[in-house]
């Protein structure tokens, strides 16, 4: 398969080989990956709880997102890089696992992480597009009323 050749090339790159051949490199990368995911989930839930009207109600949702989401994005970038490195180290096998049954539960968990992240990205992009409120003008109604994600 064409894909297999591409993944074969990926796992033959020096970086991928270094990770697969070194005994402690993978666990270290994985630890950073877990730390990053933990922070993605934790910080995004601060925003989610505000959107649900549960917590941080003394701060506007818009302000809270400006405060918190940079850390979420930062952690996400770290998770994506470390995840890609781990994938590259055994690319052909992981690519096959991706569609196999035994990894489907793991994949579902990853997918739900992605989904909450994408829904939050959608919310902030919508807020970013809404016209900014000028001083003295009444507060415009929130434009993220429907959080379907």
């Amino acid at each position: 398969m064409e894909f297999d050749r591409a993944f074969g090339w990926l796992q033959a790159t020096p970086v991928a080989k270094a990770i697969s051949e070194n005994e402690i490199l993978f666990p270290w990368i994985e630890s950073v990956h877990v730390l990053a995911i933990v922070l993605v989930v934790g910080t995004i839930s601060i925003v989610d709880l505000r959107l649900l009207g549960v917590a941080s109600l003394d701060r506007s949702a818009r302000r809270l997102m400006q405060d918190v989401l940079p850390f979420t994005w930062g952690a996400f970038v770290v998770a994506a890089i470390t995840g890609s490195l781990m994938f590259a180290s055994d690319a052909v096998n992981y690519a096959h696992n991706f569609f196999s049954e035994e990894s489907s539960s793991c994949f579902c968990w990853q997918a739900s992480t992605w989904r909450s992240f994408i829904s939050s990205a959608l919310v902030i992009s919508r807020i970013g597009m809404s016209p900014s409120r000028r001083r003295g003008q009444p507060r415009s109604p929130p434009r993220y009323r429907c959080l379907c994600g």
Binding site: P27, S31, V34, V38, L39, G42, D67, V68, F71
Partner: protein
């Protein structure tokens, strides 16, 4: 580790292993993974809440808000999920006593956890002693920064050690 301690630890592991509860957990395949998932979700809450407090101590997050607001929003979320973490952690220990209790990564994790809790308690104590502690521009700046950095390092190390349990097993 002293041989006496090692021997009694071994005995404890054997004893836990033979309890009906441990046997029941071992007989199912879903208990440990489910409990692990809940465990890591609770860690997400604790680590992120601790991070928000630490970033505030460094003046990076919510610098325009009083420390009081930051503590009252996030400190309960450092302490209360610990109950979930202890409960789920205990189930994992009962299910696989030797894999956890005798594991150097697990032992290190517990040591780091105790230290992190002491550091968290310390910042609460300083706050109680001096109502301006943590507020930007308040007197012991070095102490504020040191607590934040040490706390971030400790919580990260706890997560790392937790992941390394799997590699020492």
């Amino acid at each position: 580790m002293s041989p006496v301690f090692s021997k009694s630890l071994n005995a404890i592991c054997v004893w836990i292993d033979q309890t009906p509860l441990s046997q029941a957990i071992q007989a199912t395949s879903w208990v440990v993974p489910t409990v692990q998932t809940v465990h890591i979700l609770a860690i997400a809450v604790v680590a992120s809440s601790a991070l928000m407090i630490d970033l505030r101590l460094l003046g990076i997050f919510w610098a325009d808000r009083p420390m009081k607001a930051v503590f009252s929003r996030f400190l309960p979320l450092v302490w209360w999920p610990l109950l979930i973490l202890f409960a789920t952690g205990a189930i994992m220990i009962i299910g696989e006593p030797a894999r956890s209790l005798k594991n150097p990564a697990f032992q290190l994790k517990m040591l780091l956890l105790i230290t992190a809790l002491i550091v968290t308690g310390l910042s609460q104590f300083f706050r109680r002693q001096d109502g301006t502690f943590g507020d930007l521009g308040s007197a012991p700046r070095l102490l504020r920064v040191a607590i934040a950095v040490v706390s971030m390092l400790l919580w990260s190390a706890i997560i790392f050690a937790g992941r390394w349990i799997a590699y020492y097993a």
